[in-house]
């Protein structure tokens, strides 16, 4: 189990969480490499289908990140993301997928250290859960 490398997608919004990830880089904050970022302009862009397809294709965990409540560059995209996230969680349970595999976190452009922490924790959870199939 020790050399199990989970497949993880992290969706970042352009304005806060992607900038937070960049800041983590600029600050050289070291973290577990087993994740890949996909950038959208806003967390509100994330379609449920992206997530369901990803799980179907064998992705082990998906982390959605966006601006803190009230900070979304597009006013309220993150609230919409939150609503979809809650619904998705229920759906995942129904499908028999451990809902800890999907997580939503708010990370600001100034929170490089938080980005690092969130990533490391999430990867730890997924590593403990093991491969999805």
């Amino acid at each position: 189990m020790s050399d199990y490398k989970p497949k993880i997608i992290v969706f970042c919004c352009n304005w806060c969480s992607y900038a937070g990830a960049d800041l983590a880089g600029v600050s050289r904050l070291q973290m577990n490499p087993n994740f890949r970022i996909i950038r959208t302009m806003c967390s509100g862009r994330i379609e449920p289908e992206f997530i369901l397809t990803a799980f179907k294709k064998g992705v082990d965990g998906i982390l959605l990140t966006g601006c803190h409540p009230g900070d979304c560059h597009y006013i309220s995209g993150n609230y919409k993301a939150l609503r979809r996230y809650n619904a998705l969680k229920l759906l995942l349970k129904e499908m028999g997928i451990d809902d800890r595999r999907l997580k939503l976190e708010w990370i600001s452009a100034g929170e490089g250290a938080r980005f690092q922490e969130v990533i490391n924790n999430f990867i730890k959870t997924i590593t403990e859960l093991g491969p999805i199939v």
Partner: protein, 1007 residues
Amino acid sequence: MNTQKIGAVLVVGGGIGGIQASLDLANSGFKVYLIDSAPAIGGIMAMLDKTFPTNDCSMCIMAPKLVECARHLNIKIIPDAKIEGLSGDAGNFQVKVRKKARYIDAKKCTGCGECKKHCPIEVADRFNQGLTRRKTIYIDYPQAVPAVYAIDKNNCIGCGVCEKLCLAGAINYKDTDIVENINVGAIILSPGVDVFDPKVYTKFGYGIYKNVVTSLEFERILSASGPFSGHLLRPYEGKIPKKIAFIQCVGSRDPQVGKNYCSSVCCTYAIKEAIIAKEHSKNGLETTVFYMDIRTFGKGFEDYFNRAKEEYGVRFIRAGVSKIEEISETKNLILYYENEEGAIKKEEFDMVVLSVGLVPKPDMWNLSRILRVNLNNFNFCRTSEFIPVDTIRDGIFVCGTFAGPKDIPETVAQASAAAGRAMALLTESRGSLVAKKKYPDEVDVSNEKPRIGVFVCHCGINIGGYVNVPEVVEYVKQLPDVVYAENNLYTCSQDTQKRIIEKIREHKLNRVVVASCTPRTHEPLFRETIREAGLNQYLFEMANIRDQCSWIHMYEPESATEKAKDLVRMAVAKARLLAPLKRVEIDVIQKALVIGGGIAGMSSALLLAEQGFEVFLVEKENELGGNLRHIYKTVENRDVRYFLNQTIEKIRANKLIKVYTNARIKEITGFVGNYRTKISVGKFEDEEIEIEHGVVIVATGAQEYKPTEYLYGKDSRIITQRELEEKIFNHSTTEFFNDKTIVMIQCVGSRDNERKYCSRICCSQAIKNALNLLEINPDANIYILYKDIRTYGFKEELYRQAREKGIVFIRYDDAKKLELQTENGKLKIKIFEPILKEDLIIDPDLIVLSSGIIAEPNNAEIAKMLKVPINSDGFFLEAHVKLRPVDFATEGVFLAGMAHSPMTIAESIAQAQAAAARATTILSDKKYYAEATISSVNEELCAGCGMCGALCPYEAIVYKEKDGKKISSVNEALCKGCGTCVASCPSGAMTQYGFTKKQIMAMVEAL
């Protein structure tokens, strides 16, 4: 004589200041001539490895600007040039410029570098501070602009080898100097500075001991493009150092070498170099900084200092180093120093870095004579606090370090400010001399099969040091539809841009992927490049393999390489599906809203109005003036009251400025070019006004901290500096004759646990007030209790005066707290005196607290309305701490004055003028070109359910009737491209250009 002003500006000096000024001018309708005495622009910033306090890679953030300058149609770069004469007046100058022979035809040279391979003569390399050698035919640095070689004729022996090797036929030994007359309306001086030559201090043995280097040499040693390719090695024999000492104030704060000013940047750059050095060395490097005062007074600097101490373990010793001795066998160095307790100590180090100060360039005196501008005692350009970027000569402006030592963001702000002043002068001629950019026609690639080119960046060692770049390139080559892939040392450099264009043409590429840093900074550059090659600029995708890969997995090169491959594969998967897009044109309302009627807000408003733009100036108090209403004299003893009244009068007299006092912003809607704002006016919010404008400048100011410590508010003998100043200038002065002993306590509410930052202005303010007190009451005993005295720049002179006049400075720190008590109605302060090593009791008659600056509490509300960030201290957070000091990430919104961080009057005014100049880059054009990545409706699929319209935060979706069916449609000017509607559309009729479902799914599936 022709009275029409000339719509062109000469910028003298192509460091970061000159570059910024040139870009601002060229982007708002002026022709720019940018001259530099060196063969390439870039100045000192190009030599730096990293920048404080974010440790951003200097070249990474600068390269896009270099390239933008080089390719800007309205900027003419003239290297190797200097001014020889000037005639004419403001609005119409004739400048005589001598361009030194370069012996290379710039039009023919491709920068390929074949010529230098066999050049037999080597000399010390200026760019690497003499730590390496270069050929006599050379280019300054890899990203140099212009990317053209030069022959150093002083050393060339004329053997003719290079001429034979140059296939382009660019070598011209017979080249001669050219003297040209340039006709411009204004001149901006940004010649920069040199660093101090420490040889005059024989005690340090610089120049004799090989392992004693200057901070700029050390910067080159740390740099990936430096003498040791970024490996931290000693110059003597290339050994890895284990113990490095930094000595501060070398050539600063020292009247004996004629440099009685503080160079302002050395403390923070030494901290940076110590941190970076530690990061470089894998096996525990020790770093020690010897200093007099640590002056980390800028935004975020104090935090940086604390992190250096606590996280990185950099050791700080408050001590003067009296001499350095070299041990002849090891070439190690022994430092003798006297610590705070007065004890003489010695310690061995294997390398010493001298933190050298900033000094004016030697030919400034000559330049000032030609231009008839004034220099100060130290040969820096003389300016005045209220007009910080003006020289005494009309039409000639100044910015950056030539106007006094300063860091990069301050230089950039001043540069924009100087550009703004020139724009105001030449407003009537705006647009008269500019050319419009002509791109080649866009090739229609819609019916072609994707042919993708991939460029993978080494970024010096930033990526290449951790990710196996050649392996990534080999991997990429076999991905479907990739027809070309290569690696570059710096993909962002000018020569690589040329290369990308060539490769697009050569391989008929119709999509381009760059794997390098973050699209947040570099996407615009690469898009522009492919557009120049005839591709639609949206046929481009980036993979972030530096910030989000090599930098965060520095100890796992294999995983980092695997990850880089995945990221590029995902980018390629998306690129395959990219389609050409168009940017929507938006009309710009050429008016500005300025929030805050303090000196910053007023200065911005004036500069905009002078250029003919209408301004709405909104102030929440019932009068204009902000903090200036409580300040009477500046540190240079100028009359603030007079200046303030004059400024208010100018505002009132200007018909283009509409002032609202007692006014609050209620709501701001809209976007760049088209804002609509509701303001309630009057004490009782009796009136609501709605205004329309194209840009916003946030100048909300800041407040004095109301102390809760040291019995403030409980005893009338304890007051703040501001209250003291009011008393000095407003009240009868007699009461101070009684106050024999006055104690000032620094850092009240600053640099403590609650507010970690330094308030920057309190040290100078305290000394200013102390000196004024002494004038009234020469017998007063004044004590200033401080942590570090931070009289940066020329304010150091004030500190010297204060000590000369007998003001006593005693240090305290958090470990040895001050104690204040009242005993029988008398005040008593107990402080530990480090030299005497015992507690000292002072019985003051008056205690003055130097209370810090805190952010305006309303900032949060304004920030929310504008969707711009504030930092944890409540100040607004600019788009980029180094290069965009007065911009927000949100287009069309700018920042000025103490809303940004604590600063002096002069600094506020410069920032305000800068913000106005930046705003002008938008206001000066009737059109603004919006993003292209907006939403659109597939009318066939739309079921008219209305879900999207209900969710859209911008009301950008409206309904329309089509063929008897109700369907959604997107208002392109209002859509901001968040994509929320797309994610919620149940029938899949919505799409977002640039982030389509297919594209994102392709990325997901590629993993």
